[in-house]
Amino acid sequence: MRIGTLKTSYAADEALFDSSLQRALLVLLALAAIAFPFVASPYWLFLACLCAINVASATGLNLLTGYTGLVSLGQAAFMSVGAYTVAVLEIRLGTPFFINLLVGAGFAAAIGVLVGIPSLKVKGLYLAIATIAASVILHFLFSHWSLTGESRGLSMPPARLFGLTLDQPFLLYWLIMPVTCLMVLGAANLLRTRIGRAFIAIRDRDISAEVLGIPLLRYKLTSFAISSFYAGLAGGLWAYFFRVVTPESFPLVNSIFYLAAIIVGGMGTILGGILGAVFMTLVPELLKFVANWATPIYPDALAALAPVRTIVFGGLIVGFLIIEPRGLAEIWRRLRRFFHLWPFRT
C-alpha cells in the first residue's frame, strides 16, 4: 500500500508523474517496449505498429474533441492528407522520410485550419457535420485528381534510413513507436500549460473564455491545427506502413472509429486516448481468435465474423457510454485507487 505522497515544491506538484512508483513503472514499460520487437512475431509487431499509429491519431482527436470540445468526424480525412502528401513526395521527389512526414503533417494542419474556420460560428453537431463535408470533399479530390492516382490510389516505395529499407514491421516499429511516444508526451505537456487550459475553457464555456482573455478563433484554430497535425503525422506513418494509399484507405468509418476510441478510452484524458485506441484496434483481432476457435463447433463462424464485428463495434460504443461514460481511463483510475488503498478499503 502507498501512503499519500507529500510534496515539498510546486515543481513536484506540477509534474506529470507524481510518485516514484509511477516513474518506476514507466521505466519498466519503456524497457518492455524496447524488448518487444525481439520477442514478438511479425503479426504482433504489425499489430503493435497499427496500435501506435491509431494512438497517435486518437490523441490528436482527443485534443480537439475531448479537450477543446469541437466534435470532428474528419480525423481520417486529415490522416489521408498526410498519407497522400507523404506518398506523393516519396514517389515524385524521393525526399527523406522525416521531411516527408513533417511536410505531410504540416499540410494536414493547414487543411485542418481551413476546415476549422467555420468553428467560430458553427457549433456542436453542426460543426461535426461540417467536418464530414470536408472529408467528403477531400475524398472526392483524392479520387479524381491525377496527382493522387485517382481512384486507383498510389503505391509507394518504403522509407529508407542509413541505407536501411524500412519495409518490415520489425524495422518500422523503431520509427513508429518513438514518434508516437513523443507525440503523446507532447500532448500531455501541452495540456499542463496555458494552452491546454485555454482549450478546456473553450470546451466548458466558450463565450466567457473570450472575456477572460482567450482569443476564441485563434485557439480553436490552434486546436484544429494540432489535432490535424497529429492526424497527418499518423497518416504519414500509415502510408509508410502499408505503402499504398487509396481513397478507400480512410473512409468515414475510420473517423468514427477514432471518435469511438476516445470515447471508449475516456474523453479528455491522455490515457483515455491511448487505452481506447489500443483497445479498439485489438478487439477485432480478438474476435478473429474467437471465430477461429469456434469454427469446429460452429462451422459458419468465419462467415458471421464480419457482421458480428460490426455489432461488437457498435455494442462497445453503446455499452461503454451507458455503463461507464468516462471510459477505460476511469476504470483504470478506480483500479489504481483500489490498489492504492488496498488492504483498507474496497
Binding site: I132, F140, H144, V308, T310
Partner: protein
C-alpha cells in the same frame, strides 16, 4: 439542354427529395423532443425495408398488410431504443448520446447482415407500375407515390404541431427536462412518443426507398444525405426538413444530370458548407440563446 429533360430531372429530384424530407422529419422529431442527433436514422430506415421484406416475402403476407406491420415494427424499435439506450443517457453530453446512436446504427447494420446476408435484396413489387406523365415529362411511378406519401405524412405532422400542444411539449422537454416535469409534462411519454413516431416514419420511408432501389445492409448511407438535409433545414424545424429535403433532392438530381453522378455527394456537401457559413443554424433552425 432541352426543357423537357430539365423538367424530368426536376421532377425526379423532387421525388427523391420528398423521401429525404420524410426521413428528415423523423430525424427532426427526435431532435425536437430529446436533443438527440440520431445518426442511426439511416439504419432504422433500412430496418423498415427489411421488416417489410420479412413480413411480405418471409411470412408471405400481402404487401398491404406488410406495410403497416413494417411501420409498426419501426415504432416498436423506436420504443425499445428509447427505453434501453436513450433514457439511461439522460443528462450526458450531446456527443455521448450522438455516439450512442452511431453505435446503434452499427449494431443494426450488423444484425441485418447477420440475418439476411450482405447481398442487396429486392422488395416484392406492390405499387402500381403504370408510368406517370406530367405533361410530357416522365415520372417514375414509385417516385411519384413516394412523393405523395411523404407529402401527406409531413402535412400531418405540420398540422399536429400547429394545432395541438404537442409541439410545445416536445420543445419544452428538449429544452429542460426538469422544468418540463415541473409544469406537468409527462416527460417519459414525450420521449417514447417522439421515438415511436420518428422510427415508424423512418421505417415507412425505408419501405418506399427500398421499393425504389432495393435494400442492403449498406442502405444506411441514405442517412448521410438526410443529415445534410436536416442541417441545411435546421435541426429542429420540420418545415426546414421539408425545404431541405426537396432542395437536396433537386440539387443532387441536377448535379447528377449535368455534372455526373460522382458529383452528387460532393456538391451537396459543398453547398452545406457554404450555407453553414452564412446561416450557422440552417435555414430554419433556432439560434441558441447565449448570454453572459
Amino acid at each position: 439542354m432541352d426543357a423537357l429533360f430539365l423538367a424530368e430531372v426536376t421532377l425526379a429530384g423532387l421525388g427523391a427529395g420528398a423521401l429525404y424530407a420524410l426521413t428528415g422529419v423523423a430525424f427532426v422529431l427526435i431532435y425536437k423532443a430529446t436533443r438527440v442527433v440520431n445518426l442511426a436514422i439511416g439504419e432504422i430506415l433500412m430496418l423498415g425495408g427489411y421488416a417489410f421484406l420479412g413480413f411480405a416475402a418471409g411470412l408471405g403476407l400481402s404487401p398491404w398488410l406488410a406495410l403497416p406491420l413494417a411501420i409498426a415494427a419501426g415504432g416498436a424499435l423506436g420504443w425499445l431504443v428509447e427505453r434501453a439506450l436513450i433514457r439511461p443517457m439522460l443528462g450526458e453530453s450531446p456527443i455521448s448520446v450522438f455516439m450512442v446512436t452511431i453505435g446503434l446504427g452499427s449494431i443494426l447494420a450488423g444484425v441485418v447482415q447477420l440475418g439476411w446476408g450482405a447481398d442487396p435484396l429486392r422488395l416484392p413489387e406492390f405499387m402500381l407500375s403504370t408510368p406517370v406523365f406530367i405533361g410530357e415529362a416522365y415520372l417514375a411511378p414509385k417516385v411519384a407515390i413516394g412523393f405523395v406519401a411523404a407529402a401527406v405524412v409531413i402535412g400531418l405532422f405540420l398540422a399536429l404541431f400547429r394545432f395541438s400542444r404537442g409541439g410545445v411539449a416536445l420543445k419544452a422537454t428538449a429544452a429542460d427536462q426538469g422544468a418540463a416535469y415541473s409544469v406537468g409534462i409527462d416527460v417519459p411519454r414525450v420521449f417514447s412518443v417522439a421515438w415511436i413516431l420518428a422510427c415508424a416514419t423512418a421505417a415507412g420511408a425505408g419501405v418506399l426507398v427500398g421499393a425504389i432501389g432495393g435494400i442492403s445492409p449498406t442502405m444506411g448511407v441514405f442517412g448521410l444525405s438526410v443529415l445534410v438535409v436536416v442541417i441545411i433545414g435546421g435541426l429542429d424545424s420540420i418545415a426546414g426538413a421539408l425545404v431541405g429535403g426537396l432542395l437536396i433532392g433537386l440539387v443532387e438530381a441536377l448535379a447528377g444530370a449535368f455534372l455526373g453522378g460522382e458529383f452528387k455527394l460532393v456538391v451537396t456537401f459543398a453547398l452545406l458548407l457554404v450555407l453553414l457559413m452564412v446561416r450557422p443554424y440552417g435555414l430554419f433552425g433556432t439560434h441558441e440563446i447565449e448570454r453572459l
